[in-house]
Every structure is written in structure tokens, then in C-alpha cells.
Amino acid sequence: MAKKNEYVRIHRNVLEAAERTGKLPEDTKNVPLEMWVKGWLQDEEAAIGDTVTVKTVVGRLETGTLLEERPCYDLNYGEYVPEILEIDQRLRAVLFEGVEA
């Protein structure tokens, strides 16, 4: 359970699929416009999946479904891509070893 003032991430549909504008590709028109934002929990306590209110860093109140407590960044440099070292080897061969450009 998340307690009041815990930093959390919430989710809400801004527009349901039926509310979306006309000039859209079909695949986009068939899904809702979704939104994610972070803030401090305003409810006394809440579980993942509950509808809650948060106060964002600028002081705005937003309502949505509680998705994550203490959200962290998990982005990274991805899996090994062998082509990158291959680019290096080929470039150096042309520049320094006389291989045809």
C-alpha cells in the first residue's frame, strides 16, 4: 500500500477511442489517448489500481489509476549490437589501412 505523500506514477485515459479526432490513421483512432504523470499521493493510502489524486512537482492536482510507487528510470544502452563495432573496423580500415572507400 502506498501512503500519503509517497511519490507515485499514475495513468489516465485523456480521450477514449470514440472521442478521438477524425483525421487519424485507423490504428490510432481505435485506441484511447493515454497519459502518465508522476506526483505525491494525496490519498491517505492506496493500492496499485486504485483511482487516486496526486500533486505534481509544479503543484497541480491530477487524478488517475495508481500504477507505480517510487517510480524509477530503467532506460539503458540496450543489447549488444555487433554492427556498431563492424562500422568502426570498416571505417578505420579505409582511413588508416588503404582499403577502398
Binding site: L33, W36, Y77, G78, L91
Partner: protein, 469 residues
């Protein structure tokens, strides 16, 4: 009483919301017929080039170094005909506080917002501009909300955009992340209305005139260090602001360099498609923005865009995703500079264009951008492969956006490919002339279209004739 927050109601209040949030009455720039007074809009910011230089100096923006890329120049010469191969330079815009040239655009917007008494700024952007606005808002003591398009409907985030969200938050901004769709502007309007913050639009005159310092610096740096102006300046082109501002600044510095626009070729991919969102590896500086914004600048979040690239463009080339990744790796491995891929779009083009030029000439790629987890070729390529995109070596001319990424098998296969600039000019004329609803255009309107396109009178009249107008 609370306002109606439905899509129709909010977009219906758009003019008033934008007017309140930017403090500019755009209607006064509308003149006879289809004419819009662009120079009056630019002059009315109240900030001269000297003011921008002073503001940017105060907030640690600009005065970025220019570096000569000796090894890339040597490599280009190996690909070129004898005697050919201009000196290649890059302007290291990544050394701005938030890591890109976009901070030049943000500085005056945030400064102006503060001067006008706004408590915060809102910007709709998935790109480096978000971090730039967040950085300037932090420095100048305003609150900041960034609205970005980040995820597809499966909740899969584009790594580059996820990183930009992290950076914006690191710099103190609130970040609203959305799934794919142009209704991002609806959410932005709601934010502006709810908070009363300033609309730090990418396309306001404050933002575009702020980029003039980049061109101004280029002109002066080359004169001081190399005794002459650059011959060609390559600008990555998406919304057109980078090219517009840079070209205006170069002119003010007395530099007549040829201005070349460069975009990553994403032909065939829809920018509003949920399914295609994560099949591209570049989220900016691509044709999906570059072409529509060049031919129809006024479909942005302000009534009239200050970014009007066809007024300044001498040439427009495209490069492939595989070519930009390739040059990004070359910059790291041959020049010792690790930078973000999208910021190297102009460098990829410059590498090819240098081969058409004489050895004593100078070509400049006018930006770099910061790099980091997510916003780097390794995670971007790993992400592409995970999404079913084939990675291979070969001739990039055969690359199909959304299907494969082809790295040049050898450097001479990296080619900047010319777009038909007259086709873009005709497209702009067609759109703007449509506002006349079939009425014959006056001489003044023809002259306006000549300015909008850098076209001759004969070209504009012939285009109108071909359109049956």
C-alpha cells in the same frame, strides 16, 4: 463555474487560450488577402539580436565551439574526385546547458514569460526542446510543464523520448507523457488554461529569433578563426525553426553561405500512426516533420509560425537512418566525440556534400546534441532490432523506413539525396492560395508568395496558372 473540458469545447477556445498564453495578438499581422506580415511578427518580439545575445549570455546559452573534423574530412576526400572534399566542421551545440541548440529557442521565451509575469511555462515537445525549456525555467525560476508524445498503445516508450522525459524531470519539470496522436495539442491547451502559464511554443517569434544567435556566431567565428565565412551551412530540418533562425543570423552577420536543409528520410511512415510509432529510430529531424512544416508552416500551436524555412532554404537533402547512425559512430570512433544520433543528421549530409566541393572550401554541420542511455545509437539500434527492423550493411539507397536500417558498406555509399525544392514550393503556394477561394491574386499577394518560397514572379504565376488559379 468549471469550463467544458471536452475535446470540441477546448479546441473551440483555442484562439483565446493561445492569445492569453503567449500575449500576442496574431490578427494584427494578417494583411490584404492571404498576406501575413512575417517581418512585423519577428520585429514585434521587442528583442533585437543584441538582446538575445545578452539574455543567452546571462543564462549560459550559446558561444558554443566550432570544431574541425580532420579525420572525417580525410575520409570524405578518399571518397571524392581528385581535388574535391571541403573541410568539414561541426558546431558543438551539445555544450549548451541542456545539451542542444534548442536552448537558444528556450531562453528568450522563458525570459519573456517571466518579464510578463507568468508563473510558469508549458511546452509541447517530445524533443530536446523540452529539456531546453526545463533548463531555462530552472535557471530563471519559473515552473515548467512538458507535454510529450512518448508511448504506443502497448505502453512501449521510444527510448530517445523516455530519456528526454528523464532529463526534463531532472531539471525540475513536470512531464505529461501521452500515447501517439495530434491531440497532444488538446492536452497542451488544457494545461495552459488550467495553469495560466506561458505557451513556450517552438514556433513563436521569441523562439525563432533566439536561434539567430547561432547563425551570427557561425559567421563571426569563421571570420575570426579561419579568415573567411563558411561556404555551406547544413541545418537539420524538422519544424523549420533551426534553419530559419540560423539563416537569419548568418545574414545579419553578413555571411552568404549556401543554406542546406537536411532531414532523415522516413518516407512512407505515418507520424500519427500508433502501429508505426516505434518502427522509426529518429523522433525528430525527419521528413515526417520537415516536409509538412516546410510546405504548411502554420499548422503548429500558434496561429502563424515564425519558422518559415522555404524563405531561406537553397537546397533540401535527405539522408537515411542507417547513414546518420553510421556518421554518429564515425564521429565517436574517428573524432572522439560521442553525440546523440538525431543531432548528427546535418553532419551525415555534410559528409556527402563536402565531396562535391573544393578542398579549400568550408562546410559546417551547425549542431550536435547530447547523448545518453536511450538517446544513443546502441539502444536505438537494439530497440529497432527488437521491433523487427532488419539491420544490415549495404547500399543505404535501398533502405525502407520501418523495414530495415542499412549502414553504408563503405563510406562512399553515404549520399545526401536532393529533394525537389520546387515541388515543396508549389505545395506551399497551393495551400496558401487556397485561402483566396478561387479569387485572382493581387500583385501584392504574388509578391508575398515570392517571399514565402524564394520563387521568381514567373515561378509563382506559372504555379498558380497550373493550379487553375
Amino acid at each position: 463555474m468549471s469550463m467544458d473540458r471536452s475535446y470540441a469545447a477546448v479546441t473551440g477556445r483555442k484562439s483565446q487560450i493561445i492569445r492569453d498564453a503567449i500575449g500576442v495578438d496574431y490578427s494584427k499581422y494578417e494583411k490584404e488577402g492571404i498576406i501575413f506580415d512575417y517581418e512585423a511578427l519577428m520585429a514585434d518580439t521587442g528583442y533585437t539580436l543584441e538582446d538575445h545575445i545578452r539574455i543567452q549570455k546571462t543564462y549560459n546559452v550559446g558561444n558554443t565551439p566550432v570544431f574541425e573534423l580532420h579525420n572525417l574530412t580525410e575520409l570524405a576526400r578518399k571518397c571524392a574526385a581528385p581535388g574535391k572534399g571541403a573541410r568539414i566542421f561541426v558546431k558543438d551545440e551539445a555544450s549548451n546547458p541542456a545539451g542542444s541548440f534548442k536552448e537558444r529557442r528556450a531562453a528568450a521565451s522563458v525570459y519573456h514569460a517571466k518579464k510578463m509575469g507568468y508563473k510558469g511555462v508549458v511546452a509541447a515537445t517530445s524533443g530536446n526542446y523540452g529539456a531546453a525549456v526545463a533548463s531555462q525555467a530552472a535557471m530563471q525560476g519559473l515552473k515548467c510543464i512538458i507535454v510529450q508524445e512518448c508511448y504506443d498503445s502497448k505502453g512501449m516508450g521510444q527510448p530517445e523520448i523516455v530519456e528526454k522525459a528523464r532529463k526534463c524531470e531532472a531539471l525540475g519539470a513536470e512531464v505529461l507523457q501521452l500515447t501517439v496522436g495530434p491531440e497532444l495539442f488538446y492536452e497542451t491547451l488544457l494545461m495552459l488554461e488550467d495553469t495560466g502559464y506561458f505557451n513556450a511554443s517552438l514556433y513563436s517569434a521569441f523562439g525563432i529569433s533566439g536561434v539567430e544567435t547561432l547563425g551570427w556566431e557561425l559567421g563571426h567565428q569563421f571570420l575570426a578563426e579561419y579568415g573567411k565565412h563558411p561556404d555551406v551551412v547544413v541545418c537539420a530540418n524538422a519544424g523549420g525553426g533551426n534553419l530559419t533562425g540560423t539563416a537569419r543570423g548568418l545574414r545579419k552577420a553578413g555571411c552568404n553561405a549556401q543554406i542546406v536543409a537536411a532531414s532523415v528520410d522516413l518516407t512512407g511512415l505515418s507520424m500519427a500512426s500508433d502501429g508505426q510509432f516505434n518502427r522509426k529510430s529518429f523522433t525528430t529531424a525527419h521528413t515526417g516533420f520537415g516536409v509538412p512544416y516546410a510546405t504548411d508552416p502554420d499548422h503548429s500551436d500558434v496561429p502563424r509560425s515564425a519558422a518559415r524555412p522555404l524563405r531561406y532554404m537553397d537546397r533540401y537533402v535527405t539522408v537515411k537512418q542507417g547513414e546518420v547512425f553510421y556518421i554518429t559512430e564515425a564521429l565517436a570512433n574517428l573524432e572522439g566525440m560521442e553525440k546523440g544520433p538525431a543531432g548528427n543528421t546535418s553532419l551525415a549530409a555534410a559528409f556527402s556534400l563536402a565531396q562535391e566541393m573544393d578542398r579549400d572550401q568550408i562546410i559546417v554541420a551547425q549542431e550536435t546534441e547530447y547523448t545518453g542511455a536511450g538517446k544513443h545509437l546502441q539502444p536505438q539500434l537494439a530497440f529497432a532490432r527488437k521491433n523487427g527492423i532488419e539491420l544490415k550493411f549495404g547500399d543505404p539507397a535501398e533502405e525502407i523506413p520501418g523495414q530495415n536500417i542499412i549502414f553504408p558498406a563503405k563510406p562512399s555509399l553515404l549520399k545526401a539525396r536532393d529533394m525537389d525544392l520546387n515541388r515543396l514550393r508549389r505545395s506551399l503556394i497551393k495551400r496558401q492560395a487556397a485561402a483566396a477561394q478561387g479569387r485572382p491574386l493581387s500583385d501584392a499577394e504574388i509578391a508575398y508568395l515570392m517571399e514565402e518560397t524564394r520563387g521568381t514572379e514567373e515561378f509563382v504565376r506559372q504555379t498558380l496558372k497550373d493550379l487553375g488559379l
